[in-house]
């Protein structure tokens, strides 16, 4: 008995001393906050924050090179947790953003030039006469956005266009970066009225190729009670654009738009509205915009 106790405790003592010395000798400083941060990260490694991954994001927060609110998937709740670890006050968190496709020209609206056969990749498709559609500004419908979406929020719809599930979209920006025609824009969920066409051609040309193109008729401009929508110069032409600072979501422009290129939508579906208040839904930041007034 005694032997056992002595043996074990002396072994323990020896190892303890050796390790103690080693710990001093080989000490490497690591900020414990990095590890704490890493534990609360969503772990999607989506890169929305601009860092190579969640671990890098955590390091960058501690280093102070990024702001803690850069993580779109984590949203406001993560921001508060980060702030708690970093010891900073949580400031007003920005409104939740979702990606919106700025084209409604599906294969029932837009004239096609040819039948495309080959890999389903928008960049590849574009090398052939800027895609199979007569409109050179619109979506080429090969679904590169859907392939890069880490949250499965973009699915290819029946009429060829990708459909964003605003409920799942976290605003991570991947589709915005991927789309070769820059057809995605992150829109705050409170902005219900959007111009969903980027065709800058003259009205006649645009109309000939697509029945839901912006034809620069300026009817929206004339009817807007807030002077919030204008046909502005963009690239080599013009296109309608809404000033969200002034827009009140009245939807008059969308109702008057002859080609329905301005669209008034509810970003989050009815079911979501009903669920708010009971159980929080993923992605819901309780911004309240969707809830009935």
């Amino acid at each position: 008995m005694l032997v056992a106790v002595v043996t074990l405790s002396s072994m323990g003592a020896i190892f303890g001393i050796v390790l103690g010395i080693a710990a001093k000798k080989f000490a490497v400083e690591v900020d414990p906050r990095v590890e704490d941060l890493l534990k609360i990260m969503p772990g999607a490694n989506c890169g929305a924050c601009g860092q190579p991954g969640c671990a890098a994001f955590a390091e960058a927060i501690v280093a102070g090179t990024v702001t803690p609110d850069s993580c779109s998937p984590g949203g406001a709740s993560l921001y508060e947790k980060i702030a708690a670890i970093m010891g900073t006050e949580a400031s007003a968190y920005e409104e939740r953003q979702v990606a919106q496709l700025l084209c409604q020209g599906d294969n029932t609206h837009t004239r096609m030039l040819y039948r495309y056969e080959g890999v389903t990749d928008c960049h590849a498709s574009l090398t052939n006469f800027k895609g199979p559609k007569a409109c050179n500004f619109g979506c080429v419908m090969q679904g590169s956005c859907s392939q890069v979406c880490p949250f499965g929020a973009i699915q290819m719809g029946a009429n060829g266009l990708p459909v964003v599930d605003y409920y799942r979209c976290t605003g991570c920006n991947k589709c915005v970066v991927e789309c070769p025609l820059q057809l995605y824009k992150l829109v705050g969920v409170s902005h219900l009225v959007n111009v969903r066409c980027v065709n800058t051609e003259k009205g006649k040309g645009a109309k000939a190729n697509c029945s839901t193109a912006c034809i620069k008729c300026k009817i929206c401009e004339k009817n807007c009670p807030e002077d919030a929508v204008h046909v502005v110069v963009q690239g080599e032409g013009t296109v309608a654009l809404i000033d969200y600072e002034k827009c009140t979501n009245c939807g008059i422009c969308a109702a008057k738009c002859p080609t329905k290129s301005i669209d008034k939508i509810m970003p989050l579906s009815e079911e979501v509205i009903l669920e708010v208040g009971e159980t929080p839904t993923p992605g819901c930041t309780h911004c309240g915009v969707c809830a009935p007034q």
Partner: protein, 318 residues
């Protein structure tokens, strides 16, 4: 201008294609297996027929069920039939039919479809099926019978390994296939005919069977010389057991063998070495199946380290 549709087709080049296709290649493999099939049926009669039918049918059904369960479009290229047939070729003719079916299902489900189906498996499915059966039912899988009359007897390699005192069959018998053994492997000439057809059609690379058989021949010749046996010894090892079948039909499996030419040479040599090792030193009289499976394990690494240099690049790239 009249077109088949309102619009012309725009695609990427090229606009002409070789007549080769996966289904065609599979059909050619089936044709190449026919001589061995006929030989097997001739020597082992009804039991062989039952085993073959059971293997092929269960492989085919398993394939269809797998595709259905995984919600994939039916491929219809017939690789499952080949897997079933090859498995039947390397089991004893008197194997209980349900065992044959089980092996076949194991091949298709575990070795092929769990890995994603056609073209993505790491191991040769038929050989996995055989190894599974051998490990699971060692008695049934090593009960051999003489061709035509069905009397129980050991295989030529078994006789040699266990030194049971039975007379070894002559080289001529081995060549024709009138010896005991698995259904499709006894007749060297039939298998060689099929192999020659595949080589002629360009579906297999000579490097794998060439180096495989060459390695076995050379090492067995040396071993024979040490043992004081004559030149018949390497020839005996070449034509006994499933060496030809393995070398021409299983080691050359596109999916599970290396894609580079140098890699194929290494693969063949590796297979040959392992066969010799297992036959001379190992616990089994026959080692073709295991040697190929072991080289299947190494194939990804071989591919990785035998990449050829790029045109205009420095000599060695690895």
């Amino acid at each position: 201008m009249t077109t088949s549709n309102d619009l012309l087709v725009v695609t990427s080049s090229p606009h002409v294609h070789s007549p080769d296709s996966v289904p065609n290649a599979m059909r050619d493999v089936l044709i190449a297996l026919c001589p061995a099939l006929i030989a097997g049926l001739y020597f082992f009669r009804l039991p062989a027929l039952l085993v073959i039918l059971s293997c092929v049918a269960s492989a085919y059904i398993a394939e269809i069920v797998c595709l259905k369960v995984m919600k994939k479009a039916p491929t219809g290229e017939g690789s499952a039939i080949i897997t079933g047939l090859l498995l039947a070729f390397c089991v004893p003719p008197h194997l209980p039919v349900w065992m044959a079916a089980l092996g076949s299902i194991f091949s298709i489900v575990i070795a092929k479809h769990l890995f994603g189906g056609l073209g993505q498996n790491i191991f040769n499915p038929a050989l996995i099926g055989r190894a599974f059966l051998l490990a699971s039912f060692p008695v049934a899988m090593t009960s051999w019978s003489r061709p035509l009359d069905g009397v129980t007897t050991a295989t030529p390699l078994g006789i040699m390994k266990e030194a049971t005192g039975q007379a070894l069959p002559s080289l001529g018998e081995l060549f024709l296939g009138s010896v005991s053994g698995s259904i499709g492997e006894t007749s060297a000439i039939a298998v060689l005919l099929g192999g020659a057809y595949l080589l002629y059609r360009g579906h297999i690379d000579w490097r794998i069977p060439g180096t495989f058989l060459g390695t076995v021949f050379v090492l067995m010749a040396i071993a024979g010389a040490i043992k004081g046996q004559g030149l018949w010894y390497p020839f005996f090892h070449l034509s006994a057991g499933g060496l030809f079948l393995g070398a021409f039909f299983m080691a050359t499996d596109w999916v599970t063998s290396p894609v580079t030419k140098r890699g194929r040479v290494l693969f063949g040599i590796g297979c040959g070495l392992l066969v010799v090792l297992i036959r001379l030193k190992g616990g089994y009289p026959e080692g073709v199946a295991y040697s190929i499976l072991l080289m299947n394990v190494v194939t990804p690494l071989i591919d990785r380290y035998t990449r050829s240099r790029v045109f205009g690049g420095v000599k060695s790239h690895a």
